[in-house]
């Protein structure tokens, strides 16, 4: 009785191999970016150029997670913008706190 009720009544659709392939491809790209970050961490000199490259690669990975894994790109445009546009406030926070931090550095050292 229990088992009969537990049986799915929904129509099960066949696998969309195209979609699944795309997921694995994104996973591969993310693994490659992370691998590249590792190689750069050991081969390049520490400095502003390296940090800049790390941050660019991180944001690139974040884009893959948000667009392909969280499907934000497939949502309606107003929803997409209501998530992305508020992030502009972070630009100010970065500028303000970087300035603050470097001023403390000048005072202290």
């Amino acid at each position: 009785m229990q088992f009969q009720e537990n049986k799915s009544t929904l129509k099960v659709y066949p696998k969309d191999t195209e979609k699944i392939k795309k997921i694995w491809k994104t996973a591969l790209i993310m693994a490659l970016i992370t691998g590249a970050e590792f190689i750069m961490a050991f081969t390049m000199d520490r400095g502003l150029l390296l940090y800049f490259l790390f941050i660019v690669l991180t944001i690139w990975k974040a884009k893959y997670i948000m667009m392909d894994f969280m499907h934000l790109g497939d949502e309606a445009k107003p929803l997409f913008y209501s998530i992305i546009v508020p992030l502009i406030f972070l630009v100010w926070l970065i500028i303000a706190l970087m300035k603050e931090g470097s001023d403390i550095f000048l005072l202290r050292w």
Partner: protein, 258 residues
């Protein structure tokens, strides 16, 4: 059954200005998950940007990597702090363990998308299979983080001689082992404090995520979502899980690479 399914189409009972119009074309639950995640993005961004601000207020380490020793005069080089592996005592393996952790979390994010994809097809067996893999990845990640913290707190065998203000407000010079909130052998006190606070807050999110994943796995396995007529819960919990991965990508870059 149909009354419980996700209604994305316009409700016939309400007019365009009475809530009948849905410009976002997403269900209430999914929409609220997105806005919760937006607020969480701000919380984590505030933490991480604070990390950067405090970091630039300290000088960087200038000497050669071989001669590095911890000091609260400058910020430590991360690859020389996080260089231990479980079961391999004394082996210098910079960033290897944290690389494995990153790989585990990204993999569990991939299995989560596969679960969401299976949910779109109402394929219960596939959902259960991929949820289980995701759950496995999440628990493994938490275990790794527990080891990482434990190693960070206990520190190296040699320790570092530090001059600092102790909890009785006295200046002392002594050998420091590991890390706590007052002093640590790696660098300035803020270094350990930020590490505990930010990776701790992230770990807390992962813990909640593991509970949610288990809930989702269980409900899918007993056929709850079939009764509801849709697998939207997999999608919502998936959003949360991807977010945890997203934050880790930034934590990884700021704490371990830069």
């Amino acid at each position: 059954m149909s009354a419980q399914s996700t209604t994305i189409e316009v409700s016939s009972k309400r007019g365009t200005w009475g809530g009948g119009n849905e410009p976002f074309k997403a269900s209430y639950g999914k929409l609220m998950m997105w806005f919760f995640l937006l607020s969480d993005i701000f919380t984590f961004a505030a933490f991480l940007i604070t990390y950067v601000a405090i970091r630039v207020s300290y000088p960087a380490y200038e000497g050669s990597l071989e001669a590095f020793s911890g000091s609260n005069e400058y910020w430590p080089v991360p690859e020389l702090v996080f260089e231990a592996l479980p079961f391999l005592h004394g082996v210098h393996a910079p960033l290897v363990f944290v690389g494995i952790m990153t790989f585990i979390l990204i993999s569990s994010s991939v299995t989560m998308v596969l679960a969401v994809e299976a949910g779109h097809r109402n394929d219960r067996d596939d959902v259960v299979k991929w949820m289980l893999w995701t759950l496995f990845g999440g628990i493994t990640f938490l275990g790794c983080q527990a080891w990482e913290w434990s190693h960070f707190i206990h520190g190296t065998e040699a320790g570092t001689v530090m001059t600092y203000v102790n909890d009785l407000n006295r200046v002392v010079t002594e050998t420091v082992f590991g890390a706590n909130l007052i002093v640590n052998e790696y660098g300035p006190a803020s270094f350990a404090n930020l590490f505990f606070f930010i990776t701790g807050f992230h770990g807390f999110h992962v813990t909640i995520g593991v509970f949610l994943l288990f809930l989702c796995f269980y409900q899918a396995a007993v056929g709850e979502y079939d009764r509801r007529g849709h697998y939207e819960m997999v999608e919502k919990i998936g959003l949360y899980w991807h977010f945890v991965d997203l934050v880790w990508v930034f934590v990884f870059t700021l704490f371990y690479l830069i």
